[in-house]
């Protein structure tokens, strides 16, 4: 958890609004992954990133390896976006994938 810090820890959004989640790394990360854990507990992968950006529908993610952070932007939030978002970094010298403690997102109607 300390090697990958996520912010905010919790967030409430009105449906239709935008937000950004952030991960800061204290390890040298080569790749970053973002996951959404739904209320049933299932973990779904959202993005796998090398340094750069990716976009998928209303989600966009960026990874800056030099500044050691990653962001996940949610546009036009929907009720089904609710859940806990995790980022995970792969350490540069191993295949260890280290997770942050998550951002709990609630989208309100």
């Amino acid at each position: 958890g300390d090697k990958v810090k996520q912010s905010p820890s919790a967030l409430s959004l009105q449906e239709g609004t935008n937000s950004a989640l952030r991960c800061n790394f204290s390890i040298a990360a080569t790749t970053v992954q973002w996951f959404l854990q739904n209320p049933r507990g299932s973990l779904m992968n959202l993005f796998y990133l090398v340094p750069g950006t990716k976009e998928n529908g209303r989600l966009k993610s960026a990874f800056d390896s030099k500044e050691s952070y990653s962001t996940l932007h949610i546009r036009d939030a929907q009720l089904e976006d609710s859940g806990t978002y995790f980022c995970a970094a792969e350490a540069s010298n191993t295949n260890k994938v280290v997770f942050g403690t998550g951002t709990r997102l609630q989208v309100l109607p």
């Binding site: 996951f35 295949n95 994938v97």
Partner: protein
Amino acid sequence: EAAVTQSPRNKVAVTGGKVTLSCNQTNNHNNMYWYRQDTGHGLRLIHYSYGAGSTEKGDIPDGYKASRPSQENFSLILELATPSQTSVYFCASARRDSAETLYFGSGTRLTVL
């Protein structure tokens, strides 16, 4: 879509008992991982493996052993279960050195009484 299957889905064990959690993946992934998830800690890496016969310590290996007898199977073993090991355990797999994400199983909820 990668398939990772964990068993059992739920387990109740007694303190001092032996518990084995099983994970099977059918996608020929090299790397497999065991995490536990607890409130306030996110997912913490217990053990991982690069392939059959390999096991590596993660960040919190104490009290756990792992076994990778084949490419498809990766087990987590609690020789002497303790109540502090009550948690939800997730197995994941990934291809080695590939631009591909982790694929997770559905989790095993373990309660140690």
